[in-house]
Symmetry: C2
Subunit: 107 residues, 2 copies
Amino acid sequence: MPQPHDILFRTLADPTRRAIFERLCREGDLTVRALTAEAGVSQPAVSKHLGVLKRAGLVRDRHEGRQTHYSAELGALSPLIDWTNQMTGFWQSRFDDLEDLLNRMDQ
Amino acid sequence: MPQPHDILFRTLADPTRRAIFERLCREGDLTVRALTAEAGVSQPAVSKHLGVLKRAGLVRDRHEGRQTHYSAELGALSPLIDWTNQMTGFWQSRFDDLEDLLNRMDQ
DNA sequence: TCGATCAATAGCCAGCGGGTTATCGATTGC
DNA sequence: GCAATCGATAACCCGCTGGCTATTGATCGA
């Protein structure tokens, strides 16, 4: 039972893999060849990273003849956003609790 | 030249370490002993994780007698928030570009 | 049809990192 | 003063994962 944000953190932890995802976010739709050209690693390595990204739901693939296009799936980032909101939210509620306490002490 | 969000992703990728950070976010200020009690790993392992979190700027430590208190440093999360905003932002601007294109085609 | 290109898979290897136990220094309570 | 507790460090081990090369299957161009 791995939580959704767990997979995201693990998937995005690797710099090479994250760089691939970033390019897809910026440039929108790229072939494996195009991605490999600037990834700094071999084509199989890129394919492996794309596989991981796909299983994490972060990218979609589209087959067109003998080449495969990948594109970013930005909705998949929401668990990450939720997580950070939750963390900062915990802090906020602790702050509110403190404020409440101080208010009660005032009376 | 590791970018700030790079360190954050790597640091938060490990579930045990992230769980420790989450507890500090929820409960605010805990000793190593208290953290170890529910971490599911040994005390040295917890200390090691706290070291990594500290070097990432995600926690602060406070020495009080023979025990050390740790607390979350939420500001350190901002590079993460910035990164997600950037990614979704790229998408947004690509969408805008498309919209512009379509508008021009209308004319 | 046949050579060339594209991408995925297989198989392998090396390094990193997260776990452990043992220990040590510092602090505290009796 | 001495035993006990707390937390950090040392030293070590093992598994995972990210990299590579080689290969295969599929598609395209000539």
